[in-house]
């Protein structure tokens, strides 16, 4: 039996998930479309006063990003769970947490990164000044992986359930609070023109922390869900 090194197992799994996602291109667009749509609903709801829109803009973008990420979470392990390949990962010789990390990374590249790409467009729609757009993008690229990582624990716990969707939001949204607070706050601070090093550093710390801890919790949860 040929043995596969951990790095090649990781990259194979990543490549496999990306190919699978590429084959279903319409699903690639959906989170992005949802993100734009939710953001577009807010001005319709609160009125077209430019000052008001500017004031709520950063919060709206971040809440929409939270919801878009939540909506796409369910697909993270779903198909692998249904066709049994998830059980094969559990049986492999490699640590499950690393394999899980590959899946989370693939999922983020497919659903989190598009949010980052359309963010400047939304910033223009919501009157966020151009000077704050780099900060918005920086917070999104640091924050959305945290959402995927934290979310993966919730998905792993609910993957075996028939109606896991509603429970998933109940499990995951409270844990998203810190990311929402610091993401929004950084953008608001950047609009005023004050340095945002503190918020960015904290977001970075959250990313590193969840990168280390979340895959282990996800692997443990998957073992329980599959037992």
């Amino acid at each position: 039996m040929s043995t596969l090194s951990l790095t090649s197992a990781f990259s194979l799994l990543l490549k496999r998930d990306l190919v699978l996602a590429y084959r279903r291109r319409s699903e690639l667009i959906n989170p992005m479309l949802f993100f734009v749509l939710v953001t577009a609903m807010f001005p319709l709801g609160i009125g077209n006063d430019p000052k008001l829109i500017e004031a709520v803009g950063p919060g709206v973008v971040w809440v929409a990003a939270l919801l878009a990420s939540l909506l796409s979470l369910d697909s993270m392990f779903r198909s692998d769970f249904e066709d049994g390949s998830l059980e094969q990962f559990m049986l492999s010789a490699h640590p499950v947490s690393i394999l899980v990390l590959a899946k989370i990374l693939a999922h983020w590249l497919v659903t989190g990164l598009p949010l980052f790409i359309v963010a400047p467009l939304l910033a223009v729609l919501l009157n966020i000044p151009a000077s704050a757009i780099p900060t918005l993008m920086l917070t999104l690229i640091l924050g959305t992986p945290v959402l995927s990582l934290i979310g993966s624990v919730g998905v792993a716990l609910t993957v075996g359930l028939r109606r896991g969707g509603v429970i998933l939001s109940l499990l995951v949204l409270p844990l998203y609070v810190p990311v929402l607070i610091f993401g929004t706050d950084a953008v608001k601070t950047a609009i005023i023109g004050i340095p945002t090093t503190a918020q960015i550093s904290i977001l970075g710390a959250m990313l590193v922390g969840s990168l280390v801890l979340a895959p282990m919790a996800t692997a443990a949860s998957l073992r329980i869900s599959l037992s």
């Binding site: 409270p174 919790a217 949860s221």
Partner: protein, 248 residues
């Protein structure tokens, strides 16, 4: 001897019997401390020089808030124990605690808003503590929802244990980020219910109530655990014998 103790407590039947003997003790001491604490707090303790009589809701509010955090920590610790050593009884403690913890959190929020109406003029303020408490309530509700959604109760217990552990890692982060958010959005002077050196006549009923609530939690958790044990072990011989004897 310690190992023997844990071994025995790990056995559902032994736990069931010991818990059954403990419940009345917890209940009686809960009622005694409750009556003493409420009487002392509502009639004996002097009114506050600023808040008048309405501060007295603190004797329910503060112990409830303490309990809401205490129970979550108990759940996380017993969750860790049940994940590492697979002890059935700690799994049952995790699950039996969730609903009690959620009720205390709700009680803390409800009494807080009742107190807020005369003091702040509104039922709800997005104050750091209130917001953290609200998120804590959501964490409890998530645990309860996850547990009721998974049919196999042993799997459910382990899933809930992981969730409690993830939550306990996150609670400090959530709390401090909410505090950060709060200081930026609101003048801090309005809402600080700070506790300067409290007078001893107010401290005695407060601590009595805190002990009383802990005793209540002990009693309820043991009662719920006994019910859970009987439900889980309904196919075992000792439960069936017990039920037959009750029927006679």
């Amino acid at each position: 001897m310690i190992i023997r103790f844990f071994h025995q407590m790990g056995s559902p039947r032994y736990f069931y019997n010991v818990a059954g003997k403990l419940v009345p003790w917890f209940m009686v001491s809960f009622l005694i401390t409750l009556v003493f604490g409420l009487y002392y707090g509502l009639f004996v303790a002097p009114p506050d020089y600023q808040q008048g009589e309405s501060y007295r809701i603190m004797y329910i509010h503060v112990p409830s808030a303490w309990m809401s955090m205490f129970i979550y920590v108990v759940m996380a610790v017993s969750g860790l124990i049940s994940l590492v050593w697979r002890i059935k009884m700690t799994e049952i403690v995790v699950i039996s605690s969730a609903a009690v913890g959620a009720s205390f959190t709700f009680l803390a929020l409800a009494t807080g808003s009742l107190w807020g109406k005369p003091m702040w003029g509104t039922w709800w303020v997005w104050d750091a503590r209130l917001t953290s408490e609200l998120i804590l309530l959501f964490l409890y509700l998530g645990i309860i929802a996850l547990h009721s959604a998974i049919e196999d109760k042993r799997v459910a217990a382990r899933a809930v244990s992981i969730l409690a552990l993830v939550g306990v890692v996150n609670i400090p982060i959530i709390h401090y980020s909410v505090e950060w958010w709060n200081t930026l959005h609101q003048p801090a002077s309005v809402t600080k219910f700070d506790k300067p050196s409290m007078d001893i006549s107010m401290l005695i009923p407060l601590l009595t109530m805190a002990i009383s609530f802990k005793l209540y939690y002990g009693a309820v958790v043991l009662m719920r655990a006994r019910a859970e044990i009987v439900e889980r072990e309904r196919n075992s011989r000792w439960v069936q014998e017990m039920v037959e004897q009750e029927a006679k």
